[in-house]
């Protein structure tokens, strides 16, 4: 080993001890106890990820990239253990109730009845969500094929190889920009249409139904219908384009255009959902506020930007998160029907698509698991960033 596990534990212990000492100091607890608790928590945290990995990232033959991963895991482990311990001890020391601000009236006397009530949901979640998550983590450190004689432990190779892989970088960037456009285009068009549709026009309810129903379509169906229409050699769109404009685009076989066909199909399908929520959101904006703005002499756009838009922010926020999830995960069906095989030059291969291609077609489960973890972290990361930036700007009322 390049770095001994003991050294790592000591590092963890020091970090933990310092952190908890700080907490204890502020909460008025015994410093020595805090140091001790922190040391234990920190040491344990440093081993949290490394013990299952058997400290493999620090073995002599490994490269520096592996060490970097190892270091990240150690730090992450420390943070994951020390933070809750610190939070808990802080609360306990300040004698705050662990159950905050909950209604105490109206609750039933026999608290243990709650357990069987929760049991179905919890069991399913543990069995079918948490356990597969652990299994995914385990698989990501393996070379594994269905039907093979054995599995081989490869430490973090499935991850480190992604770092140098230009094809994966392409996939990553492509997923990002496709998702960006799906979300932005869908939401901005929906907002525009919703502002028209929420007005008390004649036939507004008919408009609404006609605009919103694509939400009920499945991504698969969107893919199929667009396959019919945008087929480069027999599809309606190219036929009309040829007649009217004299040009034909390679909707599905041109690597520059194919992603846009997917984006178009995805936007078409998701607009219904966004329009629905925006209409509802717009209806919640008090009309007198807008009128007041009009009296003030503010123009249409200024009124919109300064009054309506901030009031829509909770809905916008919710929609961004939902649309992001849709763009990253559910466009798989659309891509599979529209450009099976991942598109010319893999131009419509998103990260999700690549995971399935690797795991199912190439029977390479380890790499697929590793890539799904990267995908997951990416989405989490983006959501967290959104929560931090957008969350502050969201105001829930005047």
């Amino acid at each position: 080993m390049v770095v001994s596990p003991v050294v790592l534990m000591v590092v963890g212990a020091v970090v933990g001890a310092v952190a908890l000492a700080f907490v204890f100091q502020r909460a008025g607890g015994r410093l020595l106890f805090g140091l001790g608790l922190g040391a234990i928590a920190g040491a344990f945290g440093s081993a949290l990820f490394m013990v299952p990995l058997d400290y493999c990232t620090f073995e002599a033959e490994r490269e520096s990239l592996d060490r970097v991963f190892g270091a990240i895991f150690v730090l992450a482990g420390i943070a994951l253990v020390v933070t809750p311990v610190g939070w808990l001890s802080g609360k306990l020391l300040r004698h705050e109730s662990l159950m905050s601000g909950e209604q105490t009236q109206g609750t039933f006397r026999h608290w243990w009845i709650a357990l069987p009530l929760l049991a179905p949901t919890l069991t399913i979640l543990i069995l079918f969500l948490y356990y597969p998550s652990l299994e995914t983590l385990r698989l990501s450190t393996m070379l594994s094929r269905l039907g093979a004689r054995r599995e081989v432990f490869v430490c973090v190779d499935n991850f480190t190889r992604l770092v140098d892989d230009p094809a994966y970088a392409d996939t990553f960037i492509r997923t990002m920009y496709m998702s960006f456009f799906i979300v932005v285009l869908s939401m901005s068009l929906s907002l525009l249409i919703a502002t028209m549709a929420y007005l008390p026009l004649r036939g507004a309810s008919i408009y609404r139904i006609l605009l919103v129903w694509p939400y009920a379509m499945s991504p698969a169906v969107a893919g199929i219908i667009f396959l019919l229409m945008f087929n480069p050699s027999g599809g309606l769109v190219n036929y009309l384009f040829g007649k009217w404009f004299g040009i034909k685009l390679g909707w599905l076989n041109d690597p520059a255009v194919a992603p846009w066909t997917v984006i178009l199909a995805s936007v078409w399908k998701s607009m219904g959902f966004n329009i629905l929520f925006y209409i509802a959101g717009l209806q919640n904006v008090p009309k007198d506020l807008i009128e007041a703005g009009a009296i003030d002499g503010a123009g249409l756009l200024r009124r919109f930007w300064h009054i309506v838009w901030p009031m829509l922010s909770p809905i916008t926020f919710f929609l961004v998160v939902t649309n992001l999830t849709y763009a990253f995960f559910e466009t798989y069906a659309t891509i599979d029907y529209l450009t099976p095989g991942g598109g010319p030059l893999q131009s419509t291969t998103t990260m999700m698509y690549r995971v399935i291609q690797l795991g199912v077609q190439n029977n390479d489960m380890g790499k697929a698991a590793a890539q799904s973890i990267v995908l997951f972290l990416t989405v989490i990361g983006m959501t967290v960033v959104l929560f931090r930036t957008g969350g502050r700007q969201v105001n829930y009322g005047v």
Binding site: I124, S133, Y215, L228, M229, N284, L300, T325
Partner: protein, 292 residues
Amino acid sequence: MTAAYRETARVTPASSWKKTVRSWLPKRWYAHLILVVACFMSGIPLFYALIVSTQTNAEVFRYQFTPGSGLESNWNVVFYERHLHTYMINSVIMTAGITIGKTVFSLLSGLAFVYFRFPGKWLVFGFVLITLMMPTEVLIIALFRFINDLDWQNTYYALIVPFTASATGTFLFRQHFASIPAELSEAAQLDGANPLQFLFRILVPMSWNTIGALAVVQTIYAWNMYLWPNMIISDPDMQTIQTGIGTLRLGGGALRFGPLMLGTVIVSLPPVIVFILLQKQFMSGFTLTRDK
């Protein structure tokens, strides 16, 4: 800012109020135009699919816009050659199972979180909420192996059971129950009702909007599921429709668009109908409309 303006608004006489409203509202025709165009764009793909579903391949490639002559043969292909009804039944069972299961389990857990105090409650709640961040797509490879280990491949269990727990549902019901005055449950307890009776006799009748909203979302979600059924079902008799319509592409020959579109249209009808029928519940269930 607001109080003063509200005052002004109330005091302003009727005619200038109308003028104010009109000055904010864009000209009606402008709105109508945009909306019509939008509806057009929104509806054309399915409308075209509808037309194509009645045509033979030859007519499709001639780009005729009127219904064609192939409806009967397309129908035969869809139902007799390709057994779409088998797939639809499977999807109905799967969708019903998931929707009912999820609703019931979420009701129970919502009840537990609002009307009980037990140690570690927030921990458990957090435990459930975190799963919002764990979409099945990420876990799908491991889930595939696990379901196979359970020997559930090609069964309804595999399609239904993993999806009967829902953080969204639990969260929704929790929010909804928490907004109900506590006196109600106190009164129920005084009457000697046990928690389940309270749930089904009192809470549920008050929650139809939320239940309806969840049902709409779940039905659409379950009906439209593609990735998971694709992976776990290899037996053609057990396949669900989203993958099933894909078999219409196989055709044993050239790609036949007529049957494919007919299948697509049929497949899209149920969720659309459910959505339109339950639209009101959907809107109020998510407290999207101003509450009564």
